[in-house]
């Protein structure tokens, strides 16, 4: 055992050095971009920071995409937080959801031999060695067995091992982008690390996929692939191939308002049923995880990231979203305290300040719940969220992170959902699955 640790310690730094150089390079490039920006500004004072942000985002993205694995995952997570990151970053990061350099054919054959004891051509009737899609920590291949078209997801080797060291590198870097200090974010990074490590466990993913797709089977206009545990392993997952288009491609076909509403409603029901009935939610609402089938249904193809909502988070948080709750200030403060958004040692003035700010935030979050129907097409609501995020990012009071760790994934999930619904320009009925808190308070 002692020897083993020794060897591990010897081998990790090499890759770490390699990875850090990536970031150092990016650092230089960004420095260069600032120089470029200010020298241009000398001649033309009208140049906006948007261009600068865009240059930076492109460089950051290109270095992140070289890192693959968990760093790519972090890029994806950042790309979800449109409300936190400037728009230019978002566009570049969104690309990472689609492209990553592929594994070689022989390595895939090797992976199968190791995990299944046979080459893919012996397991399936047909197996396409060229991958058809990147899946953030792996890639997807098309296969065929007994006349059925299958999707086979294969994980990059060594992803699990490198997550922790990757995150350590990404941490100071990523949070410089958001402008928070890294120390206070340790609790949150821990949470992220836990979720990411879960994501590398494909056996767990298959179990959860089967469970959740069963529990959600009754929801309308949603299709789940069938999973094949006997053809899956800790680094491979076999499921049905779902024919259809990714969100972006789907929107390019100019679907009608009714069609978009159907998809939007399906999304809304899927997420809110999980949050409020199952208390465990598919916490990765990035567009690459959805397929819109040719008969206009929503296909859900990735259950890597599941966030469970414990009672001590669920009740205080969602009671805040219920109608008229804010009229009762003591109760609201009580909930904020339970969620650690207001701390014991805050001065009365601080309590007032945070009380006010968080009321605004929750108010925005809960807006879709406030009526039985919500139109996500309007930009006004999103400008509000965006401006609120920008404002908060500039406030020194928010340099120190607040709130329990569960917020990261719940915010990401819900604001991610709102963003997709906005892109769909859908109007949905929001009273289908509502927070269940009335009895509890």
């Amino acid at each position: 055992m002692i020897r083993k640790n020794d060897d591990e310690q010897k081998s990790i730094p090499t890759s770490k050095v390699e990875r850090s150089t990536q970031f150092v390079k990016t650092g230089f490039k960004i420095g260069g971009n600032y120089v470029k920006h200010y020298s241009k500004k000398l001649f033309n004072s009208n140049i906006s920071r948007d261009e600068l942000n865009e240059d930076n985002a492109a460089d950051i993205y290109s270095s992140l995409s070289k890192l693959k694995g968990s760093a790519l995952k972090v890029a994806q997570m950042l790309s979800m937080d449109k409300n936190i990151l400037p728009k230019a970053y978002v566009n570049q990061f969104s690309q990472s959801q689609y492209n990553a350099p592929p594994l070689s054919g022989p390595l895939i054959v090797q992976t199968f031999r190791k995990l299944h004891g046979k080459t893919p051509e012996k397991i399936f009737d047909k197996f396409d060695l060229r991958s058809s899609n990147a899946a953030s920590i792996g890639q997807v291949h098309q296969a065929e067995l007994d006349g059925k078209k299958l999707a086979v997801k294969i994980q990059y080797p060594g992803v699990g091992d490198s997550i922790s060291s990757d995150l350590k590198l990404v941490k100071p870097f990523a949070f410089r982008l958001i402008g928070m200090s890294e120390k206070e974010l340790d609790v949150y990074m821990k949470e992220v690390e836990e979720r990411l490590l879960e994501e590398t466990d494909y056996e767990l993913e298959v179990r959860r996929s089967v469970e959740i797709s069963k529990a959600c089977a009754h929801l309308e206009n949603i299709v789940f692939p069938t999973y094949y545990p006997e053809l899956s392993s800790k680094r491979t997952i076999t499921m049905d191939w779902i024919e259809g288009l990714h969100l972006k491609e789907y929107l390019e076909t100019n679907p009608s308002q009714e069609e978009r509403n159907v998809i939007g409603q399906a999304l809304w029901d899927f997420y809110n049923f999980q949050q409020h009935e199952l208390r465990a939610v598919h916490a990765d609402p990035h567009p690459g995880n959805f397929i819109i089938t040719h008969d206009g249904k929503l296909g859900i193809i990735d259950f890597g990231c599941i966030k469970e909502l414990p009672d001590d988070f669920y009740y205080p948080f969602f009671s805040l979203t219920s109608e008229g709750f804010f009229n009762d200030k003591p109760k609201t403060l009580q909930a904020f305290r339970e969620l650690e958004m207001i701390h014991e040692k805050d001065s009365p003035a601080e309590v007032e300040f945070y009380y006010d700010m968080y009321r605004q935030m929750i108010g925005l979050f809960a807006k879709p719940y406030s009526s039985d129907r919500f139109d996500f097409s309007g930009t006004e609501f999103f400008e509000h969220i965006y401006n609120y995020g920008e404002m908060i990012a500039k406030m020194p009071e928010f340099k120190q992170a607040r709130g329990v760790k569960h917020f990261i994934y719940i915010n990401r999930t819900n604001f991610g959902l709102y963003n997709i619904l906005h892109e769909l320009k859908a109007t949905v009925r929001t009273d289908t699955y509502v927070p269940q808190v009335n009895l509890e308070i």
Binding site: R3, K4, D7, E8, S11, L103, S104, G105, P106, L107, V109, Q110, T111, R113, K114, T119, E121, L129, P157, G158, D161
Partner: protein
């Protein structure tokens, strides 16, 4: 089984069970029901059994990967990768013997002698695969250097074996990563690169711009 193969098998088993070579050729021959003289008819020494084993591993790996259905669809790069994976997979199944054999050979005959037969097989294979790549345009044909490509692959193989010996990851996953990265790097060097462009540009200038090259 041929007597030669039988002797080879019994030699491996002796090493696996005792952690050392048979004490003398005489004892080994007697245990296998032949005379010492007959043994020398097959092998010159114990080490020549080792040499034959290594060569055999390489030929087995080559014929195994060539028999895969996808083989014909593979590019030159993928064929090389495939052999690396196939060969290392064979080594894994004999790890105890392999580590012994390497240690023993280092002390007695030197690794280059141990790998003599294996290297021949490997070079035939890589020359073949590289030629294919040169013909399809996947690899760049550089005068003098193209003939050295196979040596680069050989060095890479040595590196991978070394890495694997020290690898403690479950299922030797890290070795797979080392192969994927290492062979790709080597192949990237074989492909057309900015250096080629630079070289040609230099040649062009030397011929046409009246610039005297310093060499």
């Amino acid at each position: 089984m041929e007597i030669k193969d039988q002797l080879q098998q019994s030699y491996i088993e002796h090493i696996l069970h005792h952690g050392e070579q048979p004490k003398t050729v005489f004892l080994f021959a007697r245990d296998n029901g032949i005379t010492e003289e007959e043994f020398y008819g097959y092998f010159g020494s114990f080490e020549s059994i080792d040499i034959r084993i290594w060569k055999g591993l390489m030929t087995d790996a080559i014929s195994e990967v060539r028999s895969q259905e996808v083989w014909t669809e593979y590019s030159s790069r993928e064929k090389a990768l495939s052999l690396f994976y196939g060969f290392m997979e064979l080594l894994k199944s004999k790890r105890s013997f392999i580590t012994f054999s390497l240690r023993n050979a280092k002390a007695k005959i030197g690794l280059s002698n141990l790998f003599e037969g294996m290297k021949q097989e490997f070079e035939l294979f890589s020359a073949d695969v590289i030629q294919e790549g040169l013909e399809s345009g996947e690899l760049t044909d550089r005068p003098f250097f193209a003939a050295k490509y196979k040596d680069a692959l050989w060095i890479q193989l040595g590196f991978v074996i070394n890495f694997w010996l020290k690898d403690t990851s479950a299922g030797f996953d890290k070795t797979d990563e080392a192969i994927e990265k290492g062979v790709n790097v080597t192949y990237n060097l074989f492909e057309r690169s900015p250096i080629d462009e630079l070289f040609e540009y230099g040649k062009f200038l030397a011929k046409n711009a009246g610039i005297k090259m310093p060499f």
